[in-house]
């Protein structure tokens, strides 16, 4: 079952959980599976049109995905990491 790694800034919807294991064949399915369990998460990653926010980066097994490559397949032991720009002076 793929693991989605949640950035600290996004842990309010997940109740503080840093990792969520979900069923899903690809990146988008896994993100939506997190949303199903923790409502409020998905809008932090995708916009209203379902596109990846510009300030969010996605990594699979520490390799950065091209923006918008949400149909990238995930294997059961893959780790999908969500990174978000979370500082700024």
């Amino acid at each position: 079952m793929p693991v989605v790694l949640i950035p600290t800034a996004y842990r309010a919807p997940t109740g503080g959980a840093a990792e969520v294991s979900v069923d899903g064949q690809d990146v988008e399915a896994c993100l939506r599976a997190v949303e199903a369990r923790h409502p409020g998460f998905l809008e932090l990653v995708l916009d209203a049109d379902g596109k990846q926010h510009a300030f969010v980066k996605l990594f699979v097994n520490e390799v950065q995905l091209e923006a918008g490559a949400l149909d990238t397949p995930l294997a059961p032991d893959d780790r999908l990491e969500v990174l978000a720009a979370i500082a700024g002076g």
């Binding site: 842990r11 300030f55 980066k57 990174l83 720009a85 700024g88 002076g89």
Partner: protein, 577 residues
């Protein structure tokens, strides 16, 4: 000067208008920036002094790595007793003066005293020939851009400037200290903004410092080859990484808005309906049509988070238009577009004002009925009025608390007299602990924790860890947006000096900085019972059902000031501001 051997301190006595140099104490070799400023102030400044009187001490201290080839390492700290908080303050900036001072081997400029004639203006020349105080009455009252243009017109292209605008000369508590950036125009666009240190510089009659390193070389490292290899590897790793700030700090507007930390109308709400028009994406879109773009504010920066914003005719307007500015001068005042905020950012840079404090003050004016919400033209008019020294202009220039007093308005979101930055302590409670208990007052760069899901029993430790890491970072000269961790910094220090720096040593340096600052504040009269945020942040909620309030108990806040044993995570934690 190849450094670090032979380093010196510059002492400037503004009572006699004389400048001298002296050897830099060897026992301070691991101190720089914020940590060095704190050490000097605790030793040499009476904490009970009038911040705008002759006994305050103004420190300009580049970080330990400034002037070396380490990437994004040239930041400078400005320190002194703050007229805003009444405690110790450090504000730091990019640009080139920090590394230029260090190339000449100057670890700090220590400015004391005050001229007998408050109408006189002086400059400080620093170059390979030495240091000199010179008369500068011809620059009196000048705005920062014109000042730097005039000052640098006949100087070598290698020179850089530290300066104040009219706000500093008027000794307004929201006044900043400007540093010129590395572009060929050498614009005064980088500001050590928080805490009113521009007013301290103004109180000493010091209008500018001009630093020309000439042909001075970069500072060398004791372990030259490993140092060069580390620079190469670090840069490569950064460039192959996510580069989260590649389009500037303004890119965080949408996520901040979603997290209820993009305050609207004097923080009565946590989200702005105009977030889309204030977001960095709109600024980036403008580059194609208007020009401008991303650049590095200081030589050797690999982050390049600074934007250059042009007007509709393609002419330079301002740099950099940051997240905090878009929040405080934008959303918090109900201004609905980034172009107007860019105009105000330029005005603040010209006058030498902190955009956070000024935006907060303007929002209080609006909240109290003194100006229509979102009236950008009226805001610009009032900003220009600040230079004229009118009563309202002075109040705005003196910041949020002063404006609240003038307007007899109770909703003044602040900690220790300093306005709350964009990052709101209600959804981000551990950050609120930093504001309440940290030595810097409400300053997100002292310890920002963006983790709205954090449990209450983690607040104290999270705040303390972040404060410690940021104190080390702000002492090193590395930019917080490079996001170095303690292991990165101790590795660099070790290569610079040719000796192993242990984890214990680097953590102790951060803690010692905090302790020095807390000690100064205690001697200045700060009391633990004042480690609080203003009532409006405690009693007025934002977010869903207005449920987000700053409800952290006093014991938790106090616990953040008692050292926790260092843990493994501390050394991997990235600086964050």
């Amino acid at each position: 000067m190849a450094g670090p051997e032979g380093d010196r301190l510059i002492r400037v006595d503004m009572t006699t208008q004389t400048a001298t140099t002296e050897p830099y104490p060897d026992e301070w070799k691991l101190l720089g920036g914020r940590g060095l400023s704190a050490k000097i102030l605790l030793k040499e400044c009476d904490p009970t002094c009038d911040p705008l009187g002759p006994d305050n001490v103004l420190v300009m201290a580049p970080g330990v790595m400034s002037g070396t080839a380490a990437p994004t390492s040239g930041r400078i700290s400005i320190g002194g007793k703050s007229p805003l908080t009444g405690g110790i303050k450090e504000a730091n900036a990019g640009g080139n003066p920090g590394q230029d001072l260090m190339k000449l081997g100057f670890r700090a400029v220590i400015v004391t005293g005050q001229p007998a004639d408050p109408e006189k203006r002086y400059g400080l020349e620093v170059d390979g020939e030495g240091v000199r105080v010179v008369e500068a009455d011809e620059y009196k009252g000048m705005w920062n851009y014109a000042l730097c243009s005039k000052l640098l017109a006949d100087r070598p292209k290698t020179a850089s400037v530290i300066s104040i605008g009219p706000a500093g000369e008027l000794k307004l508590s929201g006044a900043s200290v400007a540093c010129t950036d590395q572009d060929k125009e050498r614009r005064p666009a980088r500001h050590a903004a928080r805490g009113g240190l521009g007013a301290v510089m103004g109180s000493k009659g010091l209008k500018w410092v001009c630093v020309d390193p000439g042909k001075a070389k970069l500072r060398g490292a004791a372990e030259a080859k490993p140092f060069a290899t580390t620079n190469k590897d670090y840069t490569k790793a950064y460039r192959e990484g996510p580069q989260m700030f590649a389009t500037g700090t303004s890119s965080v507007v949408p996520v901040a808005n979603m997290l209820n930390t993009f305050p609207y109308k004097n923080r009565t709400e946590g989200q702005s309906p105009d977030a889309e028009n204030l977001a960095g994406a709109k600024i980036v879109e403008s580059f194609e049509e208007r020009g401008g773009g991303m650049h590095n504010c200081m030589t050797g920066c690999i982050v390049q988070c600074s934007n250059i914003v042009h007007d509709k005719d393609g002419n330079y307007k301002t740099s950099a238009l940051e997240f905090e500015t878009l929040t405080l001068l934008g959303a918090n005042c109900a201004v609905d577009n980034w172009d107007d905020v860019a105009d105000m950012d330029r005005l603040c840079d010209e006058l030498g004002l902190d955009t956070i404090e000024t935006g907060a003050a303007l929002a209080i004016l609006m909240d109290s009925g003194g100006m229509e919400w979102g009236d950008a033209e009226a805001m610009k008019g009032l900003l220009k009025e600040i230079a004229d020294g009118t009563e309202l202009g002075r109040a705005i220039g003196n910041g949020a608390v002063a404006t609240g007093k003038l307007r007899k308005h109770a909703r003044v979101p602040h900690a220790r007299g300093q306005a709350i930055p964009a990052w709101d302590p209600r959804p981000l409670k551990a950050t609120g602990v930093t504001y309440a208990a940290g030595p810097m007052g409400a300053d997100h760069t002292a310890g920002l924790i963006v983790n709205p899901g954090m449990q209450p029993d983690e607040f104290a430790r999270a705040s303390q860890d972040c404060q410690l890491v940021n104190a080390v970072c702000d002492s090193s000269g590395f930019c917080q947006f490079l996001q170095p961790n303690l292991d990165d910094i101790r590795n660099y220090y070790g290569l610079l000096y040719g000796e192993e720096i242990s984890r214990e040593q680097i953590a102790d340096l951060g803690w010692e900085c905090l302790e020095d600052e807390w000690k100064f504040n205690e001697l200045a009269g700060w009391k633990p019972e004042d480690d609080v945020l203003s009532d409006c942040l405690v009693n007025e909620g934002i977010g869903p059902d207005n449920a987000l309030k700053f409800d952290v108990d006093a014991e938790t806040i106090a616990a953040s000031k008692v050292r926790f044993p260092p843990r493994e995570e501390l050394f991997a934690m990235k600086a964050s501001g």
